[in-house]
Symmetry: C2
Subunit: 467 residues, 2 copies
Amino acid sequence: MTNSWATFGADLHLEPVGRGLRAGLMAALREAVRTGRLTPGTRLPSSRVLAADLGVARNTVADAYAELVAEGWLTARQGSGTRVAQRSAPRRTDPAAAAPARPARPGAGYNLKPGSPDLSAFPRTAWLRAARKALTAAPDEAFGYVDPYGRVELRTVLAEYLARARGVHADPERIVICSGFAHGLTLLGRALRRRRVRDVAVESYGLDLHRDLLTEAGLRTPCLPLDEHGSRTGELSAMRGAGAVLLTPAHQFPTGVPLHPDRRATVVDWARSTGGLILEDDYDGELRYDRQPVGALQGLDPERVVHLGTVSKSLAPGLRLGWMVLPRSLVGEVVAVKGVSDWMCGSPDQLTLAEFIASGAYDRHVRSMRLRYRRRRDELVAALADRAPGTEVSGIAAGLHAVLGLPAGAERSVIQAAAFQGLALEGLARYRHPDAPAARDALVIGYGSPSESAWAGTLDALCRVLP
Amino acid sequence: MTNSWATFGADLHLEPVGRGLRAGLMAALREAVRTGRLTPGTRLPSSRVLAADLGVARNTVADAYAELVAEGWLTARQGSGTRVAQRSAPRRTDPAAAAPARPARPGAGYNLKPGSPDLSAFPRTAWLRAARKALTAAPDEAFGYVDPYGRVELRTVLAEYLARARGVHADPERIVICSGFAHGLTLLGRALRRRRVRDVAVESYGLDLHRDLLTEAGLRTPCLPLDEHGSRTGELSAMRGAGAVLLTPAHQFPTGVPLHPDRRATVVDWARSTGGLILEDDYDGELRYDRQPVGALQGLDPERVVHLGTVSKSLAPGLRLGWMVLPRSLVGEVVAVKGVSDWMCGSPDQLTLAEFIASGAYDRHVRSMRLRYRRRRDELVAALADRAPGTEVSGIAAGLHAVLGLPAGAERSVIQAAAFQGLALEGLARYRHPDAPAARDALVIGYGSPSESAWAGTLDALCRVLP
């Protein structure tokens, strides 16, 4: 799960930072020019277009442009639009001064976008302790060119951990380490294309990034409908071309429902009878609050399900560590796609994670985060009952996010109002598959994102913008 | 630089390990079956074909096959060839017992293949000290989703270091962190294809992996001739389609000559007059023995040269950390190609490397390794003068490897004889561009690869197999 960025041009991502929307937009544009992402002479989108992209008033953009022209960053000429000035960036010469070279990440204000755990909770001391133990004990060859499978130490402890914690049928020889879910999905997409698969069914709500990665691999991503019991897997058999399906069975993202047991059985039956493959995105499977975790779907049929997991939600996305537990028949193909040049994950972090899990520190951390997030969820529900009593909350039995229903037509205006107050929110609409029916108005609230110290203020800010 | 593997099938790489060739081949085959890379029923290549692939006697392979049939790993039937037995792998149930799941890396015997530094010299204590300092000081957001540019802390210290140590015109805003050279070259290849470049000229001797990566990106790799002054860059202007050239200017790999100053000037002139781009692979630029390091070519024209470096030779390939210093006009394109999903390098190792460089530990390590490798080079030259006095040694002013001339026709037999004695060697022939004229017979000796304790024995083993 990533953050959303308003995009213009091929490669420019802007996100207004800080409290005031105009000031934030100006800061983001200045940074883009300063860092060379907007090169001199580049024509900016019209204020009308950018305003629509960002979901803000046109005047906000027009004012920001005008001030930046006044400051010399941009030029505006009748008929030629607004452009980046030729000598715009006062180049910094002191490298240290260049430190904040990218626009600040969310966190400058309040942030309730989903997709990130509480980064302030990263267990630095325990991680360093594991690093010391792992690197001291590592054989010399651990510092050599890496194995495309990933370090055997990590695959070995993961096999044990995933069996215990998630009911995954795993052994080290069918685990391949990757740099997180996106990397794993990219590799799987390419392997599926080599198998001549054309379509991978995806849930009608999910991350556009995941659809895009499959599309880049040459696959189509037809839409599997979703209701209050999760994805309607019974409809797969009518989707003739689908050779695989991408699911979030434990806790559908973003709607938050678990896949109904009948539908779990149905999708496995479909896979068995058609030879299809199930890609199980187990992004937050360890974070379950009200009952035992839903076991991994992979446990039902290890030869038909690819189980994908990462430490991005349980520990930190910055580690870039994930894994695929593969059907035996697919291991060779995925490693072949990975190829000799895809040596992405450094050994020290892999060895450290292995030691971190083996020592029990990972279990302790997950337990403590589960308590923290459950408390936040309870406080969210209580605050809403108290201060926004009409709000329906759902999808809260697990994970780091909740769905808050809104009155019809209110989603966009609530997000805009929040942005003006420095609170970053995300609506359900942006997760909709293009072929899915129109979404109900709702917010997808990532209550894991704030730091512990910012949580109370963030919750308060949310309550203030709700209708 | 990677190790070579004899290949058969789409995805199986075998390398005989250990001392005896037959025993090594048997071990490699057992591992391949055990790990599922060779699945039951798979037909193996005939002993004649595999023997030719591996450059060994046919009887060696036939004997290995026969013993594995006797052990129950393989089956042999008249007319159906040798196959993997149906119930071949005694599946291990204890995950810990599965530890050495991949064939052992070179190092089981003696290894003088080029491409690796002395892994036993990795400065574990200093690295852990840097990790502690870096992770303790890191802001919370360092544990969040990573920036496609790489951590600003690392880009900032690299800019300073590369300017000081390699004469690179760098600033943090034109540096992009990648997972080593192969990753960087892949990204550049894709960016060049988007610019509609068709051909990237490559040196007539170099790594096939690098040519393959460019080919995968949709580029052709015409061959630029090479002589005792390095690549004949004057011939670029006659290569009409070439939009870029890949060079190892400081220390040509594998021949070891530095690019002559006139030819450095010529290639920059070519780039300026044609708009072409120079990709500078500075793989061992810090390791210079007899005089000051040759400065980076990038210093001559930062807008026409991409400078690529890694810590793979100076520190450890297992870190998977490298960098590109890009012309300003190319930064946005490379980051666009990298895309939102290419979050490959974990933050902890990036931050640790930044601290490792900033604290001076990197300089100290490079200095100490330079002394170690220079001593080994001197010992190699002295041993050859003493025990194989006819052998011509070249390319030894820098780096981790030397070229040893052999009598015409002797290359293959020397490598084979060495393999039988448990010494892994590599010949010049395998680095030849398919369009280059036939190579002289020579060995490319990676004297950096052995550990300090194995060095004397390895050198002795080399002297014994030389004619």
